[in-house]
């Protein structure tokens, strides 16, 4: 990447040629190659493009790349006019409506296309979100806050702590609900993390993302956001949840419990599914339909318990045929406090792992078992392998999702360093992550 902002993306030959004529992005330039001349606005080069091409926007609106050779002549023929983005005015706040805070952390929902480059930038401020979805002003009075601008794969447990504190601060300010705009890739993990970090919530905390960037007319961003704000403003539950499309159609938005939700598709709008549970609610238009009676009630008199510490000394290991058990040893030697095994079927790993597991338990590491089947409950009493693993000290995780188990253990070891206390917390239902019954749905 070039250090020079004016020529972003250009390197090598193309960069030198442009520097020589003192061109900047947005300038009108003319490139002559043999009998051909190309006139257009200089466009930034993708970081992955080569060094030999210059990209210009023709008058027709099309972009093309022109290869630069020593014989190519480049001229700057006009100074570029930087398009100035004027955000539409914020809609008027209606004083009678509930107050909702939107905290932006980044991701596709909080992105805006740069029309000169086409790059989708995770830079849209929460107030921009509000201004492009003016309908929000009919649902709630909105306060916006930019916490991060991160792709969600870059979010770490330290960010979860920040998010939890930010939510707590908003709740202390008296909002009727909080919406967190988040990249979808790890949104499920963050939702689980906040489910543990924010206990005894008085109001809903609703994560929202989008699978199609908001620059495209077909984006799911606006409808997801409206549903999230509606749920934050009005829903009768007070839990951490995720609001995303329920199907491929723009009809309904499912509200999933934060500890029960998983991204199950790389690209579809309805990628998020509740695992071993029903979604808490469904939003259709301006209606919220509760899908379960089993939820924490909204109650503004409740006193929030903020427990924002997480430990990163927790690992997840997915078992597969042929796995080298030394990976378990490595984590143990690194000082891991807990390992979640993502085993097969009802909760199994091959015998070749037994020695390493025994060693881990002996060294005081908490070893727990979830299933890579994703759906269903582990039961380690059915086969010898399961019984033997339990004898080694492996803790079955019932119907808890593997991802939620990892997050929960990170949170647990942020609260305590006692192994016994950790085991007690792990097996206790804290935020709807474990249930005794698995329903047919």
């Amino acid at each position: 990447m070039s250090e020079n902002e004016e020529l972003s993306g250009y390197r090598g030959l193309a960069f030198e040629a442009l520097k020589k004529i003192e061109a900047e992005i947005g300038d009108l330039i003319c490139i002559t190659k043999g009998t051909q001349t190309y006139e257009g606005i200089l466009i930034p080069r993708s970081e992955y493009g080569d060094e030999a091409h210059i990209v210009i926007k023709l008058r027709s609106g099309y972009n093309i790349g022109v290869q630069i050779t020593p014989e190519t002549r480049i001229e700057k023929i006009g100074k570029g006019e930087k398009p100035a983005f004027v955000a539409p005015p914020l809609p008027e706040q209606k004083p009678a409506l509930p107050k909702v805070a939107i905290i932006s952390t980044g991701g596709t929902i909080a992105s805006r296309v740069d029309y000169r480059t086409g790059a989708v930038r995770p830079a849209l401020s929460a107030s921009d979100l509000y201004s492009v979805v003016p309908e929000l002003s009919n649902i709630a009075r909105i306060d916006t806050q930019i916490l991060f601008s991160l792709y969600s794969e870059n979010i770490t447990p330290a960010h979860w702590s920040e998010m939890a504190k930010a939510v707590a601060a908003q709740i202390a300010n008296g909002v009727d609900g909080v919406v967190i705009a988040h990249g979808t890739d790890t949104m499920g993990y963050s939702a689980a993390a906040l489910s543990f970090a924010l206990q005894n919530l008085p109001v809903p905390v609703v994560f929202v993302g989008s699978q199609r960037s908001s620059d495209r007319p077909s984006s799911d961003a606006a409808s997801n956001l409206m549903a999230a704000v509606l749920a934050a403003a009005q829903a009768p539950f007070a839990e951490v949840a995720v609001a995303m499309h329920e199907t491929t159609s723009d009809i309904s938005i499912a509200i999933h419990r934060g500890t029960r939700v998983r991204k199950c598709h790389t690209s579809r709008r309805d990628a998020f599914k509740s695992i071993n549970a029903q979604p808490i609610a469904r939003v259709e238009g301006d209606k919220i339909l509760m899908l379960t009676e089993n939820y924490q009630k909204r109650d503004s008199s409740k006193k929030l318990l903020l427990k924002p510490s997480f430990s990163e000394k927790v690992a997840m290991i997915k078992f597969y045929p042929g796995i080298n058990p030394a990976v378990i040893d490595w984590y143990v030697d690194e000082g891991c406090r807990a390992i979640v095994l993502e085993g097969t079927g009802l909760g199994h790993v091959g015998r070749r792992c037994f020695e390493s597991i025994r060693r881990a338990v002996d060294k005081g590491v908490l070893v727990a078992m979830a299933s890579q089947c994703v759906w269903g409950r582990v039961n380690m009493n059915v086969y010898d392998t399961g019984r033997d693993l339990q004898a080694l000290g492996v803790i079955p995780l019932a119907d808890m999702m593997a991802e939620t188990a990892v997050v929960k253990l990170m949170w647990i070891f942020g609260q305590t360093s006692s192994l016994e206390e950790a085991k007690r917390l792990l097996e206790m239902n804290i935020a709807g992550e474990i249930a005794d019954r698995t329903l047919y749905n």
């Binding site: 027709s60 093309i64 029309y115 086409g118």
Partner: protein
């Protein structure tokens, strides 16, 4: 005609078929640019591996979406688009799994651009002397009418600055682009629009000419020439709907009109002619309106609820709406009386244009206006009550609609807007072509085409190696091919041209080479016979290349007489899914065996003995006639004549 203005000279009367007013298009300042869109014949779609085909019957699955207008780079939202959105327009997409995957559903990012399609586009580009770009960047062109699930069309320029020669004139080709075809509309019920996504993603090549065309005929010729080059690649789809022509038309003092979707090549000159008429008439109307004292400030947004006037109406349309609780809303257009009924082009009046606008903006069924009343069951009394109600004078026109109050207001606002434009002349707009060559309002012309990069598709470098490869296998230029068809197959120029124009040269050569049937017979069938069948209303697009080839192989081997080709084809078109053999049996077209033929001839000679004795050698043609009447389609005429000749000669010994 000195002293008369241009407009008066050319708007004396409307052209009717076969009686065109000759115009001096140069004087009128006609400028036409063409955009030709042609589907490419590839094995997959442009950005995924789905079959580039359309499905019939019921969709396997459907899904419902809403497209939301997005902000431009300057934070603006297209008002027409936002209006549509606010109306709550929803799109129901229909799909089946053969022709659509998650890519068409906008549920998965596009796959890299089809290299097969790119090579065809580059081939066409090189044939038009266009210069391939060094690096191809796919763009997103915003389209939010629902025809693209994403809300934009993916498109890329592959070559620039080409040129073709048409009748000695150089026509610059501004660019050659490759783009995805849109979904096809299958219905509309209120605010719910149906689109079928099978067509979405089929590769299209777009050829854009400079606006250098100056007459309607020339527009047709240029389109034909481009079509010929495209067909010469041998890699374009054929049949109805596979080629669509857009026209950009302007005249001096008029405005740029973009006409979308002319499907028939033959229609192009007529579409241009009608558009010129329309613009000339609109200019004339604007001047006359000025003379009668119509003014923009008198066009007030003042709507009258005139439901009471029609309480007892006999007009069924109004009656039905009133029964549903809808209202009648009217607006006065001062000094517009008589102008709404003025014809702009055949069947299209200024009132029609207002109705088009009302339908688009107000989603109403149509409008009523005083220039066409009394009619439709609306009485003279009702008209006069209406006029009184809105205080309209003799020179004022009144427009009214029946719908919900909200729709009616939107509709009348659109009518007022169109009236204001009528004062000024010709509005810039995008129109859609009707099958008869006239056009209808489609939408306002979009501002500067909003295009931004499709970042999901990496740029493609067009290497010298690729260009060399395509150059090496560049198809024969159409002109050269024409000469060769005449020389190699002894076709006359007319027939050879017809073969070329019909785009069947490849098929023609294949058939001649594999069937050994006379080239003229093959050419006549592929051009004139097919046209005759089409005239009869037969669905000739169903006549596949393979069945045509089979028919000629049958002719070559003597199973089918060449005289029976048309009957066989006609039968096959009427009986879809049946075989050639079944056609031959059903029509009794089986070729007679030598014995059978000789028997027929012997019988004919025997029963005309006296005639033969009387006229000697001259009897041949009469016998021939008698025999052919009986065996037409079942025997080769040359063979019949040979046998008769032989037998008559024997008799004379």
């Amino acid at each position: 005609m000195p002293g008369k203005s241009l407009i008066e000279r050319y708007t004396i009367e409307l052209p009717t078929k076969g009686d065109h007013v000759r115009m001096n298009y140069e004087e009128i300042g006609l400028k036409v640019g063409l955009e030709i869109h042609q589907q490419l014949d590839t094995s997959t779609k442009l950005f995924c591996s789905c079959k580039p085909e359309l499905f019939k019957g019921e969709p396997e699955f459907t899904f419902l979406r809403r497209l939301r207008p997005t902000q431009s780079e300057l934070g603006q939202i297209d008002p027409a688009a936002y209006f549509e959105f606010q109306k709550g327009v929803r799109v129901l997409y229909e799909a089946d799994s053969e022709t659509s995957c998650l890519v068409e559903m906008d549920e998965e990012p596009p796959h890299p651009l089809s290299i097969e399609a790119l090579e065809i586009a580059l081939t066409a580009a090189l044939m038009m002397n266009a210069k391939p770009v060094d690096e191809i960047h796919t763009m997103r062109k915003t389209v939010i009418d629902g025809s693209n699930t994403t809300g934009f069309q993916r498109t890329c320029v592959v070559a620039l600055n080409g040129e073709i020669k048409v009748g000695g004139k150089r026509v610059p080709i501004q660019h050659v682009s490759l783009e995805e075809d849109a979904a096809r509309k299958t219905g509309e019920e209120g605010t719910l629009i149906r689109y079928r996504i099978d067509r979405l993603g089929i590769p299209l090549i777009e050829i854009a000419t400079a606006p250098v065309i100056n007459t309607p005929e020339e527009a047709g010729e240029v389109a034909l020439a481009i079509g010929k080059i495209l067909r010469a690649t041998g890699k374009v789809r054929r049949g109805l709907g596979t080629i669509r022509q857009d026209l950009n038309i302007s005249i001096a003092g008029g405005a740029l009109t973009e006409i979308k979707g002319v499907q028939e090549l033959e229609l192009i000159p007529l579409v241009v002619e009608y558009e010129v008429q329309r613009q000339l008439n609109l200019i004339k109307i604007s001047r006359e309106l000025g003379q009668t004292g119509a003014r923009e400030e008198d066009l007030q947004e003042e709507f009258y609820d005139v439901t009471e006037v029609f309480r007892e109406t006999q007009c069924k349309v109004i009656r039905k709406s009133l029964d549903k609780g809808q209202r009648v809303l009217a607006v006065k257009l001062p000094k517009f009386s008589g102008f709404l009924g003025r014809e702009l082009m055949p069947g299209i009046r200024l009132g029609t244009e207002m109705a088009d606008r009302a339908r688009f903006w107000g989603r109403v069924g149509g409008i009523f206006h005083t220039d066409e009343l009394p009619a439709y069951g609306i009485t003279v009394q009702e008209v006069s009550m209406l006029k009184k109600h809105v205080d309209a004078g003799e020179k004022d026109a009144v427009v009214f609609v029946v719908d919900t109050l909200e729709n009616a207001k939107d509709a009348l606002r659109a009518v007022l807007e169109r009236a204001r434009e009528a004062l000024k002349g010709v509005p810039e707009e995008t129109r859609a072509a009707n099958p008869d060559g006239t056009t209808r309002y489609m939408r306002p012309r979009p501002g500067a085409a909003r295009m931004y990069p499709e970042t999901d598709i990496p740029p493609i470098q067009v290497t010298e190696q690729l260009i060399r490869k395509i150059f090496a296998s560049l198809p024969e230029p159409p002109e050269q091919k024409l000469q060769r068809l005449m020389k190699d197959y002894r076709l006359n120029q007319k027939l050879a041209s017809q073969v070329m124009d019909a785009g069947v040269a490849e098929l023609f050569e294949t058939i001649v080479n594999e069937s050994k049937v006379s080239p003229t017979t093959v050419a006549v069938f592929l051009t004139e016979t097919v046209k005759a069948l089409k005239r009869e209303g037969a669905p000739v697009e169903r006549l596949s290349e393979s069945i045509i080839r089979e028919m000629f192989r049958a002719v070559g081997s003597g199973e089918l007489a060449k005289e029976a080709l048309q009957d066989a084809a006609s039968w096959l078109l009427r009986n879809e899914g049946r075989s050639l053999k079944e056609a031959i049996d059903a029509l009794g077209l089986r070729t007679l065996s030598m014995d059978e033929l000789e028997e027929v001839i012997d019988k004919a000679i025997a029963s005309n003995k006296s005639l033969i004795e009387k006229s000697g050698g001259k009897a041949f043609s009469q016998i021939m006639g008698i025999v052919m009447r009986e065996v037409r389609g079942r025997a080769n005429a040359d063979l019949v004549s040979e046998i008769i000749r032989r037998k008559l000669q024997k008799l004379s010994f």
